[in-house]
C-alpha cells in the first residue's frame, strides 16, 4: 500500500534483530525469512501479532530509505524461488563486495561477470575464467589461488557453481542488475516477460527472444500448446513447473533432500 510505505516506520528491536540476521546471511529464501521474522518476535515481543511480512519489510525499508539501502525481494532464475537480500540503492564507494575482497579478487569477479553476461547459457567455464588470471589488476594471482577465490565467491553467495561452470547467484543479480545493464549494454540479455536482467533462461529459436524459466512457467501455465509471445512460432523447449511453496513443503516432508529436488528441476530443462 502506497500510503503505508511513505509513512516513516518505527524500528523496534524486532526489526533490528531481523535486519542484523539478514545482513549476516546475505540472502535468504522466503521460507527462512518468514521463520526469521517469527523468531525475532519470539525473542522480543512474544505476545504481539506477527505483522504481515510485506508490511514488516516496508516498515523497515522506510527507515532504511535515508541510508539508500533496502530489503529487496527477487526470484531465483533457475526455479523461481522468492529470495530476499539487503541491497544498496545508490552508488557509493563502499559496498559489501569491496570490503570483503582484495583488488585482484574484485577484478577476477569482474572478469567472470563479463564472461557470464557475454555467454549464451549464462555460465562461464572455470577454464575460461582462469585463463584471464594474467590480466588481473593488483597483486599477481596464480591459477590455483584464483580457483580458491572463485570458491570464496561461491561461499559468499556471489556466484553459483555447476559442474565446473559459474553463473551469478541471485543475490548478485538483485544487487548488481542496474550496474550490469549499464556496463554491458550491448551484451546484456533481458527477459521478454518481466523485462529485467536475464542471465539464465531459454530463447526462441526463430526470433531469439529470451525468457526466465519461472517467467515462462507462469506465462505458459495454462497453454497446452505454447507459442512464442513475440513471433508466435511453436515453443520448442520443455516448460518447467511453477514454483509452489506448498508442494515444496510436502516434498521436503516426504524425505527429499534439497539437492535431489534441484536435480529434479534441472532435469526438466
Amino acid at each position: 500500500m502506497q500510503s503505508s510505505a511513505r509513512r516513516t516506520g518505527v524500528m523496534t528491536d524486532v526489526h533490528r534483530r531481523f535486519l542484523q540476521l539478514l545482513m549476516t546471511h546475505g540472502v535468504l529464501e522466503e521460507q527462512d525469512i518468514q521463520r526469521l521474522q517469527k523468531h525475532c518476535y519470539m525473542v522480543h515481543d512474544r505476545n504481539a501479532t506477527v505483522e504481515k511480512l510485506e508490511d514488516f519489510i516496508n516498515n523497515i525499508n522506510s527507515v532504511l530509505e535515508s541510508l539508500y539501502i533496502e530489503v529487496k525481494k527477487g526470484v531465483t532464475e533457475d526455479n523461481g524461488r522468492p529470495i530476499y537480500a539487503l541491497v544498496n540503492l545508490a552508488t557509493t564507494p563502499v559496498s559489501k563486495m569491496a570490503s570483503d575482497f582484495a583488488e585482484n579478487e574484485l577484478d577476477l569477479f569482474r572478469k567472470a561477470l563479463e564472461l557470464i553476461v557475454d555467454s549464451e547459457s549464462g555460465f562461464a567455464s572455470s577454464t575460461n575464467i582462469l585463463n584471464l588470471v594474467d590480466q588481473l589488476k593488483g597483486k599477481k594471482m596464480k591459477k590455483k589461488e584464483a580457483e580458491q577465490v572463485l570458491q570464496k565467491f561461491v561461499q559468499n553467495k556471489w556466484l553459483i557453481e555447476k559442474e565446473g561452470e559459474f553463473t551469478l547467484h541471485s543475490r548478485a543479480i538483485l544487487e548488481m542488475e542496474q550496474y550490469i545493464r549499464e556496463t554491458y549494454p550491448d551484451s546484456v540479455k533481458m527477459c521478454n516477460i518481466c523485462h529485467s536482467l536475464l542471465i539464465q533462461g531459454q530463447s526462441c529459436e526463430t526470433c531469439g527472444i529470451r525468457m526466465h524459466l519461472p517467467c515462462m512457467a507462469k506465462y505458459f501455465q495454462s497453454s497446452p500448446e505454447p507459442h512464442c509471445p513475440h513471433c508466435n512460432d511453436y515453443w520448442p523447449h520443455e516448460i518447467p513447473e511453477v514454483f509452489n511453496q506448498e508442494k515444496e513443503k510436502e516434498r521436503e516432508e516426504a524425505g527429499f533432500s534439497k539437492s535431489s529436488k534441484k536435480s529434479l528441476r534441472s532435469r526438466q530443462q
Binding site: 510505505a5 511513505r6 524500528m11 533490528r16 534483530r17 535486519l19 542484523q20 540476521l21 545482513m23 549476516t24 546471511h25 535468504l28 526469521l36 523468531h39 510485506e54 519489510i57 525499508n61 532504511l64 535515508s66 541510508l67 539508500y68 533496502e70 530489503v71 529487496k72 525481494k73 527477487g74 526470484v75 541491497v87 544498496n88 540503492l89 545508490a90 552508488t91 557509493t92 564507494p93 563502499v94 559496498s95 559489501k96 563486495m97 569491496a98 570490503s99 575482497f101 583488488e103 574484485l106 569477479f109 569482474r110 589488476k137 590455483k144 561461499q155 553467495k157 548478485a172 544487487e175 542496474q178 550496474y179 550490469i180 545493464r181 549499464e182 556496463t183 523485462h195 529485467s196 534439497k258
Partner: protein, 313 residues
Amino acid sequence: MPRGHKSKLRAREKKRQAQNETKALEDAQATAANHPSQNLPTMGTEDSPLSFQGAAAAAFTDAHGDGEGNPSSPQASKSLSKDPLTKKVVLLVRFLMEKYQTREPVTKADMVNSVVKSYKNHFPKILKRASALLELAFGVDLKEVDPIRHCYAFINKLDFSVDERILHEDSMPQTGFLMMVLSVIFLKDNCASEEEVWEMLNMMGIYADKTHCIYGHPKKALTQDFVQLKYLEYRQVANSDPPRYEFLWGPRAHAEVTKMKALEFLATISDTTPSDLSPWYEEALREEEERLQARLAAKGSKQGKSRRKPCPK
C-alpha cells in the same frame, strides 16, 4: 580490509554517468513499474530521486570518494542528498556496517581516509549522526575504546547467541556441532588440519560423505556455512601439493565464543573440569583477563567523554 583502487572501469562509469543520467532514472522507474511483485517497497520519495547507478559499481570503483565536488556528475551528488554532510553521514554508516560484519575495530584514521576526507573538520558531527543512525536502524553502538589512538569498537545492543545465526532447515541447533569443531581447533593450538577435525568428528559418528540425522550435511556446514557466517576460517595449508586444508576460528567465533566457553564445553563432554585441562586452561584464563581489561578501558573512556546524546529522531 583492502579496498579497491581507481580503475579504468570507474572512468568509463563516470563518463556514462554524465551522459546517461536521465536515461538511467527512466529505466529504473520503468523497471520498478514493470515488476511490482519483485520490488516490495517504493524506492525513494519524490523529493529524493535516487541515482540508480548500480549498487556494485561501487565494488569496482575506488574507495577514495565519489562526488567530492565532482564536476562530471553534479546531478549524482545532488540526487544522493542536498546536504553534503548528510551524504558523508550515509557513506559512513554504510562503511561502519561493513566493518561491523567482520567485528573489526575501526579507527578515526580509517573513517577519515575512506569516507570523511575533506570534511575532516566536521568529523565529530558526522560521526555522531552516523552512530545515531547505526543505533536506530541496527541496534549497534559505536564506542571509543582507545581515546589516544582514536580506536572504536562495536557493541551489539541486541543479545545474540550462537544458535540464532544458523538457520538450519529442520531448525535443529547447530551449536553443539560448531562448539565441537571450535574446541578441537583450540586444542590443536588454534589451528587444526582438516584431517584432525574429521578424525574427531568420525569418533562421534559424523562423517564427511554421510548425511547426519541432526547436523545435515556436515562437510557443507564446516566448509561453507560456518565459513560464510564467519565462525570458521578454512584455508589451504601453505605450499601444500596436493592441497591440504586447515581450520581456524573465524572473527565471529572470536567475538562470540570465549576460549573458556570452548573449554567448558569440552569439560562437559569429557566429564572433567576446565581447570584439569592444562595448558589450555591457562590460555583461556589469559584471554578472560585481556577481555576484562578491554571492557574496563571502554568504561573508563565513557566517563571521560560525553559523546552520547539522545537519538535525534
